[in-house]
Subunit: 406 residues, 4 copies
């Protein structure tokens, strides 16, 4: 194996933490775009697992296109109803017929697998949705071109060749604002929701930092069945506001102002009330790859890849693998190496070359005061090298559902 | 009220029972066309009931168009799987918005109701279908034109005016062959299936009588999960054959030959094995109104209406009401009046006229030996008159699911 | 070859012409059900021709399921517009991949062929429809099961075996009322329309004869672009009425009363005005096989087959072939043999038997006064035998578009 | 009016032109994602224009979701065919019913308008596509919520309030690599294509600069009807390579290496040949907002917005307006003010505030040697202020189709 082309350099800018204005956004798991991301990725996992179970290796597929067409709903205090179901079209390619070396033929029920995986995901993710009345899941999976197969199986993990010239980008550590935005949504959709079923999953968090003042704007869909009247609604909003304020204090000492559902107009009775906990029930369409990047955030202050990570084949789709891997590398480096304030990892593929040997692995750092790039370069290089050597671990972890893609 | 125009006359032919050749067919409840009929009718019942519950009366709708696009399946002894789900598109019109006299507005979730009703029906009717993997139910309900509404409510049952020039036709009694065909399917899909889950619901029965020889040809989809191997398959087929033969002896003293799955070729291993118990899983599309007539049979020896009865609004759709009512009248007459060997009732509507006053109610009879039409005319006329007077009972019974439409 | 089982017998009833009440209906070519029939049949012709051109023989397919979901329109005098397009889903099965004896592989673009054929048909049949704004044509063709192929090619016309136990039925001659209904629609949609573009193609004709009084009820969609105002509308209706009255005089000496658009209410301005010439633009869905039988009519006074003739494979689909052939036989017999007042031909297939040897060819006649069945039996038998011998001609004529199916 | 909050500051990094590694990508107009962007934007323009023509002002709509499901094709030298049509689903919301102040009611045929606009766009953009056989366009437009309407009409251009907290970002001038990538695609799809119809519209250009070495990788779909054989194919590829090389010399003095269709394998006969000029015909799905940003490029070296610009309402959708406006401001500033090497404009909205008064208009510059920020600050500020004052011009230009969004 040739030596990997790894560069470690100072970044051309200061740490994002030091910029004057910072904007960070996260679309919660119930946002229409995130629903699409989640469905696409869950379908992908189910297909990969089915291929492993049946054929012994992952065959070619990509399910990174899911379109959600919003429904119509009539929410009301105490419990309304969905009037016109949400329509979700799962789109992609998957190998349906396969003949192995011994001549044995396989027919893989990819459409049925995709249908079930999509419905399962909705059922688990959106507890207030009634799958029998509120959503129609449709599937259009074309036949994948069979010649793109790289071997990925339990016994054998060939490092595939990059099938595209593409790149991935990862950052670490998160800034305070980024962490705050990410954790706010995760806590609201996690422990907070467990105790407060009135909170729906469509929680969008926007963080804006100017100097040391952080504004956290939360848009949260409430579930009408758990909100008997306007007073209860106001109380729920206030409870969320307090919870987020308290949470913020754990992550930052900066001033944080929390806004919840600022578009509400109590006078006119116009509030963010839903039947299902997602705005997909009324007017908000969604699709894959339009929301959070692979690290769960939208960060205009940082380099981002346009590549949709969710739903892609984790064996040989370089866009997916490099976005996940670069994020993982950035995390590993920052965990293990002292003295780094901001780090960006970019992996560039070259078509036809094994993916563990990127055209360039480009690491840019902002070091802490008193630390130089040369102090840490060898350590960084070692970690990057090791992570690249284990690139197929990413594939396995994606199939196991251990890596989030949005 | 004007006197009803009821004619009682001798029929222009002999009794069907006396014809030399008789052909009778019944598509079982799991046949793709019957699935569509059943879905359409079940959706119709659910909508009618929802209108009554919410608005207090039935609003305009018609759901007599459901299209089934067959899936793909890979059945195998012991249990195979559906590869590509069946696609069912529920089509029709239904009133979504309504403003009552007091100005109160209603939004009726007709799409959600239709979706749930369709899925419920499939779940109840086809026990071997997995709703999460084997079928996609889609709904396209347009807005019905609001001006076709006739009042039908608990308190008030206006007799609507015929909105079309149409006709319905009913016959009684069933011939031996007709009864045999009907009961064969009902018994197979009823008590026999309860004890023999290997029998699927797609049971098609064709009866052919030439003189006194009856051929009963049964095409029965077996469910692979309950059929471990070819020997078991043969045993199931033989069991069905014996059951039907025994059953036939209860209904006729004529010679009956029973054929089951005659297209099977055991040598080539080509048998009628399915995953779901219906040929809709593989290659057989279906739609409403292409199978059984309102009395459950296809009877080329008798007059038939082309009108699709299933899925139509039972309040003012004259095609539906007159087909059901004429069958019911025929049954009532034959039950109550002695000396009738064959009877046909035709009801002709005239547009704009109340439906309890058909343009003509045309009753043709073949009397038994020694009985003349004039002997029975008054009795027949009385029953017809009474049934017409109670025409709105048909509407209620349809909504309650008491009348079968296919 | 064995001798064919042909029976010639007196019919069990009088001539339909002599019945007291006769009902006949024809749905014109622009009726939503007829549109589906026409699309299905046109797609079928295009596929059959494509198979012949590319592979040299017709491969397995069936396209006898097309679902039309009505649009929404805003017609107005002088020209309105379609608001929501009509949606037409072409459903069926067709062989997409084929390997001939020499190992050459063919990929037949059945979906593209079906799409084009459907759009072409709409374009030719409905001149007022704008294909770019008024209609969406979608296609769902599954893969047909390859083992149903019988050889039909230029050089070789194997007589296929019946793949089902089915029957077809034909009648001749048409009664006066039947001929009148059929010709009324054909003339209106033919020469009359050529001179009067205000007449749309959705012309439904209902004929009712009681004794010697015939009521012809015509429901005719007018095209708004050619109707500037209400006076023009009334004039168009009157012109149609006069045309049909004059036409009737050519076909019968009975009294004929002609009604046109009886549901119109000039006071309320409620008239049958359309943008496209078909009620499919607003509220009337359609599907294959729910309208006219193979002879172009719905005739409750006569035996009818439920089989949808349009769209089926003309090579081996017994339901299609026998319905067309029995009608053709009936016509031939009546053309060539004197003394027949009414004739019905029924062809019963037996599964597995060559289709030129039906299980029974059942011919029932009503002879003219002074003629007995035995006088004509030999002639009838000879014609039936010859037509059966040439059964594959039906296939060729269907492919060439020479036989109408609805 | 309050004074606008405009900040002009040095950027936190060097000019992108000076970075060591630069990556730039452009998906050509025939790329599946770009097709979706173009369809969505064209539908948007058509709707906006229709609202202006019919109602006198733009009503609420968003059509920023279009899903393309790839077809199947069988290209071959000299001309192949599409086997399974491309399926394009236009998704969004649009106001269908409107009542103006005088009580006049309007029904706007938004579905028909969208259908026609989408088909028109495909027809104009992809000359090798046959709309009758190669593509199915479907439309699912829900009813928009009526309360989001801001007035935009000929006479009256209210500056709307921001309905979301969002941001837009623009850059100027383009780096050499960016300009090269952009112009390569535009020239290939413009003058080059005019002379060379063998070049399809699916031209993807990837630029990678390391120091002063630029790699331009072009993936270009050729149209089979214009390519008789492999020699012709090779000649076409070489012609493109030379054309791009010559073009590059006009834009840069750096070393440029041009690669065209590097994945081709002439030995195996595997080349990038298509029937329609786009990979959408075979296996490549697409959707809106996954490709080029508002300036036509994907530039991981620069801040990007995730917002899909195409298809959004240009009256009040802040994500669309601010992305277009910030790009336009950046261009204006660089055109008018000397001494700027790199400039980034970010516009942040605040919900409820007029969009001509952003929460902050954040201008970061890298000045040329010898120029300080304070030298140019006043000029920059003036231009930004003026552009913001004329924000509604952006709306008009979008409706007129003068601004590209992808």
């Amino acid at each position: 194996m040739t030596e990997r082309n790894i560069r470690v350099q100072p970044i051309e800018r200061g740490a994002v933490e030091d910029e004057e204005v910072e904007i960070v956004e996260r679309k919660g798991i119930g946002h229409p775009d995130s629903i699409c991301d989640g469905v696409a990725e869950h379908v992908s996992e189910a297909l990969a697992q089915a291929y492993l179970d049946r054929v012994g290796k992952v065959l070619h597929y990509n399910t990174d296109e899911t379109q959600l067409v919003a429904g119509t709903a009539a929410p009301k205090f105490g419990g309304g109803e969905v009037v016109e179901p949400i329509y979700i079209l799962v789109v992609g390619r998957a190998t349906k017929h396969y003949v192995d070396e011994s001549g044995e033929e396989y027919e893989i029920p990819v459409d049925s697998i995709a249908l079930e995986a999509a419905r399962d995901y909705l059922d688990e993710t959106l507890p207030a949705i009634d799958l029998e009345t509120d959503v129609i899941v449709d599937v259009k999976l074309g036949e994948g071109s069979g010649d793109l197969q790289d071997v990925f199986s339990e016994e054998e993990r060939t490092v595939p060749e990059a099938n595209d010239t593409s790149f991935g980008v990862g950052h670490a550590p998160l800034t305070e604002t980024e962490e705050l935005v990410l954790e706010t949504e995760r806590h609201l959709n996690g422990p907070y929701h467990d105790d407060n079923p009135a909170l729906g999953q469509d929680v969008k968090v926007m963080g804006k930092r100017e100097g040391d003042e952080i504004d956290l704007t939360v848009a949260a869909a409430l579930v009408d069945a758990y909100v008997p009247d306007m007073d209860a609604y106001k109380a729920e909003i206030e409870r969320i506001r307090e919870y987020v304020s308290d949470l913020a204090d754990e992550y930052t000492t900066r001033d944080v102002t929390v806004h919840v559902n600022t578009a509400d107009d109590y006078e006119e009775g116009s509030v963010y009330l839903t039947v299902t906990g997602t705005s997909a029930e009324q007017g908000d369409d969604g699709s894959v790859g339009r929301g959070n990047r692979a690290n769960g955030l939208i960060t205009p202050n940082r380099s981002m890849s346009m590549e949709a990570t969710s739903g892609k084949n984790p064996v040989n789709h370089i866009g997916k693998i490099y976005n996940l891997l670069s994020t993982q590398i950035a995390d590993s480096v920052v965990d293990d190496v002292e003295g780094i304030r901001d780090l960006r990892v970019r992996l560039l593929s070259q078509i036809g070359r094994p993916i563990d040997e990127p055209h360039v692995a480009d690491v840019h750092v902002v070091t802490a005061e008193g630390v130089t790039v040369s102090d840490i370069e060898a350590d960084v290089r070692g970690i990057v090298d090791e992570e690249l050597a284990n690139v197929t671990d990413v594939t396995q972890r994606v199939i196991d559902g251990e890596l989030t893609t949005f």
